[in-house]
């Protein structure tokens, strides 16, 4: 046995500790990148992910042993790496992946979240799901199939189209199965040229094309010795250096949808939410939507202390200088930066995800940021034929259809175009009866209706069906008006319950507006502040005579009451 000098042992221990420190520091500095993979059943997608996990040493021994022992092996090699990701029984039996699976691995530089999405034709909805949160899309293209057919397969076009539809910032084409075309640079060049042309047509801003063999491990993690003609990055190098989406979302304008109002005690009221875009700072002048009230950010609170500023995607609690009406589903934006659209109609690209078709005239529930509203399908502008990417007429959408649709909502939404900001332009559609998530929508723009409303006027438009009528001291007139409005099929209430103090009337009025209920008061006196607030809230629908109010109420009976 060779004895080691003592100094060597100490030195080795020291260097081990140092290496660990470096590891720890490195891991704490790691950024996080989300990517999705799109490919059809035969493109080798599961094998590619298995290869990424395996070659970056993110697979445990017992997991490898379990797939080695598996009855299934479709790879023709010792270990079928695709089995690492094919999780559920039904899938293994059918040999296909039927739902989005999330996978995790990390390298010295980054932590990665993979949304592994099945690319089979009928699973457009799954790819859209995986794509919705991705920074990067990997589109797998089968080099051998390309060689056989002489052009990109329709499925590759579809996958690239969906990546563009969901606005994944970076798209990389992994030309797989290069081993089956003798690592031919000619084939690679042909695929590259076609893919680049497609990317141009779809206006993809950032693309990359990489020749790989997932089965043999070429250019996935290890640089291929068999493709020395290729000088670009390996797939992993690309993933480790692609710019993160969060950089793009850190710029103006500020968007802060309120998730919760925190009232731990009588003295404190805070607004909890996530900065969806831009940065909020203490001392910043902010505008509350839809009320339009402007105030100043007093403090930005977190469990770990106060912050001078917070950017996307931090979850914080804001304390404001002034006591203003603001609740879940409403939003804070900067007073000076670009305001969002505030509209109750818009057009959006829809991915339909349910067996029961979408049809014109139907009403769904739409969740947008923290706001859930009723959304009716006014019109389907066109359906996209996913094979040719051409527009077609249609009055219904089937599962996995993609279309541009016009919606009108019961209450206005505060939104940006999806192309400008994913979080502020995205909605999910839910069935109001079954509660199923039936579709995803990405706002293209508002429906321009002659541009006659300013943003704040429009905000009130959706809510102004509710009027406020103040009939000072005329109790009987108030009661008669209530009866008349109700007979016209509209909702109204009398606000003269002594339990509602004068100062609470604006808050009550705001709630009534949301519920589209007209408020009637015959209070003999209202403070000047309350009166001003009510006049501002009700705008043109503030009335002081029963006649004026009744005419308006009867002229436009609401749909809900019919």
């Amino acid at each position: 046995m060779i004895s080691q000098p003592q100094g060597w042992e100490i030195e080795q221990k020291h260097s081990l500790e140092q290496r660990f420190r470096q590891f720890l520091d490195g891991h704490l500095e790691q950024e996080m990148l989300r990517f999705t993979t799109a490919g059809s059943v035969d493109d080798g997608k599961s094998t590619l992910i298995g290869r990424l996990l395996h070659d970056t040493r993110n697979i445990y021994e017992d997991q490898l042993a379990s797939i080695r022992a598996s009855r299934v092996n479709r790879s023709g090699r010792d270990v079928d790496l695709s089995l690492l990701t094919d999780g559920l029984r039904a899938e293994r039996e059918q040999g296909i992946t039927i739902d989005v699976a999330y996978r995790y691995f990390s390298t010295a530089r980054r932590k990665f979240i993979i949304a592994d999405t099945p690319g089979h034709e009928q699973y457009t909805r799954n790819m859209a799901t995986g794509a919705s949160t991705a920074d990067v899309a990997i589109v797998l293209i089968d080099a051998r199939a390309f060689k056989r057919v002489g052009e990109l397969l329709p499925q590759s076009r579809r996958h690239t189209y969906i990546a563009s539809l969901l606005r994944i910032p970076h798209v990389v084409a992994a030309i797989n199965k290069m081993d089956l075309v003798d690592y031919s640079p000619e084939i690679f060049d042909q695929v590259s040229a076609e893919f680049s042309e497609l990317a141009d047509r779809l206006e993809l801003k950032s693309i990359e094309v990489i020749p790989v063999s997932a089965l043999c491990g070429d250019n996935v993690v290890e640089r291929s010795q068999r493709m020395d003609w290729y000088g670009g990055p390996t797939l992993l190098e690309y993933l480790e250096t692609a710019p993160l989406a969060l950089r793009e979302a850190s710029g103006e304008p500020l968007r802060f949808p309120v998730q919760l109002v925190a009232r731990p005690n009588a003295e404190f009221r805070g607004f909890a939410g996530r900065v969806e875009r831009g940065e909020v700072r203490t001392g910043m002048r902010v505008r509350a939507l839809p009320s339009g009230r402007v105030t100043t950010v007093k403090r930005i609170l977190t469990y770990d202390g106060e912050l001078p500023a917070a950017g996307f995607p931090l979850s914080v609690t804001l304390e404001l200088e002034d006591e203003i009406d603001l609740s879940r589903g409403e939003m804070l934006v900067s007073e000076t930066q670009l305001a969002p659209h505030i509209r109750s109609s818009f057009r959006a690209m829809v991915v339909w995800m349910h067996a029961e078709p979408l049809s014109e005239g139907r009403t769904y529930l739409a969740k947008h940021t923290t706001r859930t509203v009723r959304a009716s399908v006014r019109r389907i502008r066109y359906r996209v034929d996913i094979h040719s990417i051409e527009h077609q007429q249609s009055s219904q959408l089937q599962m996995n259809d993609i279309a541009e649709v016009e919606f009108t909502t019961g209450l206005p939404l505060f939104f940006d175009a999806y192309a400008d900001n994913r979080e502020m332009g995205a909605l999910i559609l839910m069935d109001p009866v079954t509660n199923a998530t039936v579709g995803a929508a990405m706002i293209v723009s508002d429906l321009d209706e002659g541009g006659r409303h300013t943003a704040l006027e429009e905000a009130r438009c959706g809510e102004q069906e509710a009027a406020l009528v103040w009939l000072r001291g005329r109790e009987q007139v108030a009661a008669a008006l209530l009866e008349r409005i109700r007979q016209a099929g509209r909702a109204a209430v009398i606000l003269d319950d002594p339990l509602i103090p004068d100062s609470s009337l604006p808050a009550v009025m705001r709630a009534l507006q949301l519920a589209k209920v007209t408020g009637i008061s015959s209070r003999s006196d209202l403070s000047r502040a309350t009166l001003a607030a009510l006049q501002e809230l009700a705008g043109p629908r503030f009335f002081t005579t029963a006649e004026a109010a009744a005419t308006l109420a009867e002229a436009a009976p609401s749909q809900e009451a019919k």
């Binding site: 590891f23 950024e31 999330y102 949160t133 731990p264 805070g270 979850s315 947008h368 509660n435 998530t437």
Partner: protein, 315 residues
């Protein structure tokens, strides 16, 4: 509790310098999920298993509702087979942070002597964990339950949603889960239906340990290596515990052991380890070549066993 104060201050400095590292990104996402669920569900509850993931989830809940208190109780499903150190930690820690704790046991099954030896691990879990959990959720009228499950734990969990929909019988149908896009979670329920919410979906085991370390979160001492008495039973290192029946052939031995994952005493194996501090555990983890659930008897009964359990209502 086995912390490394100076190092953690150093780390805190680094954290403030960097714009957003992966732990901060994960934390921000988890806080968002916790707040969404509290805003949209009428009666949420947090499943508290006393383990490391629960400890992280609990800290995230404190953060999400700061400066307020956590707006929901904690629920522990006690199988009666938990390590005494876990129960002691549970009572002390939840009290120290002022959390409301509900402990639920399937007393009928316990009285009938339900055990993994008598029923097999599958059925024992079914009675003492799954049934007990469903009963507790029903009795409490909870429409949402936070759980600390992570997608990297096991294959069937890789497809789990952040909002996992359960029918009125508490069961999970993998083919009937709602698509989940962006961070727009569908919280709509009909009577009797419920949702399991997993704020730690995107965390890995390593993330959990790094976070415990940087946040200095207390955990059950069983996670740290110590000389403990154990026998090797069915290939699993089983620590001696109250109520344990030794077989004639079994000779307890003292070894340096720790738990990588905490469960019931008879069914959770220990690992040989010298890691006595969080940095040492993290260091050990990087060198690990085996997945954390390997020591759980329940996952290996049959290929795809976790999926079967989940369909029945297990977490």
């Amino acid at each position: 509790m086995n912390t490394d104060k100076i190092a953690s201050e150093e780390i805190a400095k680094q954290l403030s310098r960097k714009r957003l590292n992966h732990l901060q990104a994960l934390e921000a996402e988890s806080l968002y999920i916790l707040r969404e669920a509290v805003a949209e569900f009428a009666h949420p509850v947090m499943l508290y298993s006393i383990g490391k993931d629960s400890s992280v989830m609990l800290r995230l809940a404190q953060k999400a509702f700061y400066p307020g208190k956590m707006p929901f109780p904690l629920l522990h499903i006690d199988t009666s087979y938990k390590f005494p150190q876990m129960i002691a930690f549970r009572d002390e820690y939840t009290k120290s942070i002022g959390a409301e704790l509900i402990v639920h046991r399937n007393e009928a099954a316990i009285a009938q002597g339900a055990s993994p030896w008598k029923l097999g691990t599958q059925n024992c879990c079914g009675a003492l964990k799954t049934r007990s959990l469903l009963d507790a959720l029903n009795e409490g009228g909870f429409d949402a339950a936070f759980g600390g499950a992570r997608r990297d734990e096991e294959k069937s969990r890789a497809k789990e949603r952040v909002y996992s929909f359960r029918d009125a019988a508490g069961q999970w149908d993998p083919k009937n889960q709602r698509p989940e896009l962006w961070s727009l979670y569908n919280s709509r329920l009909r009577k009797g239906e419920s949702i399991r919410v997993f704020p730690l979906s995107n965390w890995t085991e390593l993330d959990i340990w790094l976070y415990l370390y940087t946040e200095q979160i207390p955990i059950v001492p069983l996670y740290f290596a110590e000389e403990r008495e154990a026998v090797i039973r069915g290939g699993m290192i089983t620590m001696l515990h109250p109520g344990m029946q030794l077989l004639p052939s079994e000779k307890p031995e003292k070894m340096m052991l720790r738990m990588r994952s905490l469960g019931c005493m008879p069914c959770t194996g220990a690992i040989r380890s010298h890691a006595e501090t969080l940095p040492q555990i993290i260091q050990e983890l990087i060198g690990f070549r085996r997945s954390e659930r390997e020591g759980r008897a329940i996952d290996h009964d049959e290929e795809g066993s976790m999926e079967l359990k989940k369909r029945e209502g297990y977490f």
